[in-house]
């Protein structure tokens, strides 16, 4: 039983599924933020974690990292790198969410959209983030590059 669970968790098909899920989410989230940098800057500002001078820099550059990571995971180019950055990002997001949940700030998540009406942060957002973090780790360690550009080129 234990080996079966292990085999399932480390399955390359599962990695492919996670790559598609994570890749699409990153692409979607990144593009939404590139379209509305001011809205995303406001979201970051509301988290009250970054110094004022870095808010816009993060709002301008972070979405591009998300798009590139999304592309990397979807296409299977530099997948380990993409998954590593995804893991780092989800860890940072988890930290930011946790700090503000403890502080009790009523702010919009700013996760997949920049709208203020996106709903206040809650334990659900943290759980969702942690699930995505686990998916990233799975891809990082078990991905076998199914349906990836890297593998196609080798053929």
């Amino acid at each position: 039983m234990k080996t079966k669970i292990m085999a399932f968790c480390s399955s390359p098909v599962l990695s492919l599924a996670f790559r598609v899920i994570l890749g699409s989410l990153f692409l979607y989230a990144g593009i939404a933020k590139i379209v509305d940098p001011m809205g995303f800057a406001l979201s970051i500002y509301n988290y009250k974690l970054l110094p004022d001078g870095l808010i816009n820099v993060a709002a301008i550059l972070l979405p591009w990292l998300e798009v590139i990571v999304g592309g990397s995971l979807l296409l299977g180019i530099g997948t380990a790198g993409g998954a590593l950055i995804a893991t780092a990002l989800f860890s940072i997001f988890a930290g930011a969410l946790t700090i503000n949940l403890i502080r009790g700030l009523d702010i919009a998540c700013g996760c997949f959209s920049t709208a203020a009406s996106g709903g206040s942060i809650s334990g659900f957002y943290l759980l969702r983030d942690l699930s995505l973090l686990l998916m990233s780790l799975q891809v990082l360690f078990f991905d076998k590059a199914l349906f990836s550009v890297t593998r196609l080129r080798k053929k």
Binding site: M38, L42, N46, D52, N56, L65, I68, V69, G81, A116
Partner: protein, 168 residues
């Protein structure tokens, strides 16, 4: 043992690839920032904005210089959201007095007066949210794209831009 080695190899490869992906993202982000027309500045003026105002998001603010450029070219209608007494003592030249709670009743008139120009709402003080309230109230009435000049009265006056006195 073998597995551990495989993991270490993956992690090693991951770090190298991640560095490359970060560089590509930075290059793309900086290039796009250089060419896009609706960009935000690299460093924002967050210190002058208040939590009270920003907690009421969904409205866009306008910078003082941008607001003045619109004023100079007669391309904006300014709405003063403060109390009538403050308005009487002094307001932006040409501004119309309207408090957030009256927005519903005067929608048609505002639309007529604006005549397609940009509407800019303002009040006074970094903590004042009347301008934002007014913009939101107007948006509810179907007048969208109202911008807010945060701490408008003080900043406008300190910049030495045209003001006037008089009853609403």
């Amino acid at each position: 043992m073998l597995k551990q080695k495989v993991f270490q190899e993956r992690l090693k490869a991951g770090v190298k690839q991640a560095a490359l992906l970060v560089i590509i993202s930075l290059a793309l982000g900086i290039s796009f920032q250089a060419v896009r027309s609706d960009k935000i500045p690299w460093v924002g003026s967050w210190a002058t904005l208040s939590t009270a105002t920003l907690s009421l998001q969904s409205v866009t603010d306008i910078s003082l210089s941008e607001a003045f450029a619109l004023y100079r070219d007669h391309r904006a209608l300014f709405l003063d959201a403060r109390d009538p007494w403050s308005f009487e003592e002094g307001h932006l030249a040409g501004a119309v007095h309207i408090e957030p709670q009256d927005a519903g009743k005067q929608t048609a008139e505002i639309q007529k007066r604006a005549g397609g120009r940009q509407i800019v709402a303002y009040c006074d003080g970094a903590e004042c949210h009347l301008g934002v309230d007014l913009a939101k109230a107007l948006e509810k009435q179907g007048i969208s794209s109202v911008k807010v000049l945060i701490n408008g009265w003080s900043r406008w006056r300190e910049a030495g831009y045209p003001v006037e006195k008089g009853k609403p």
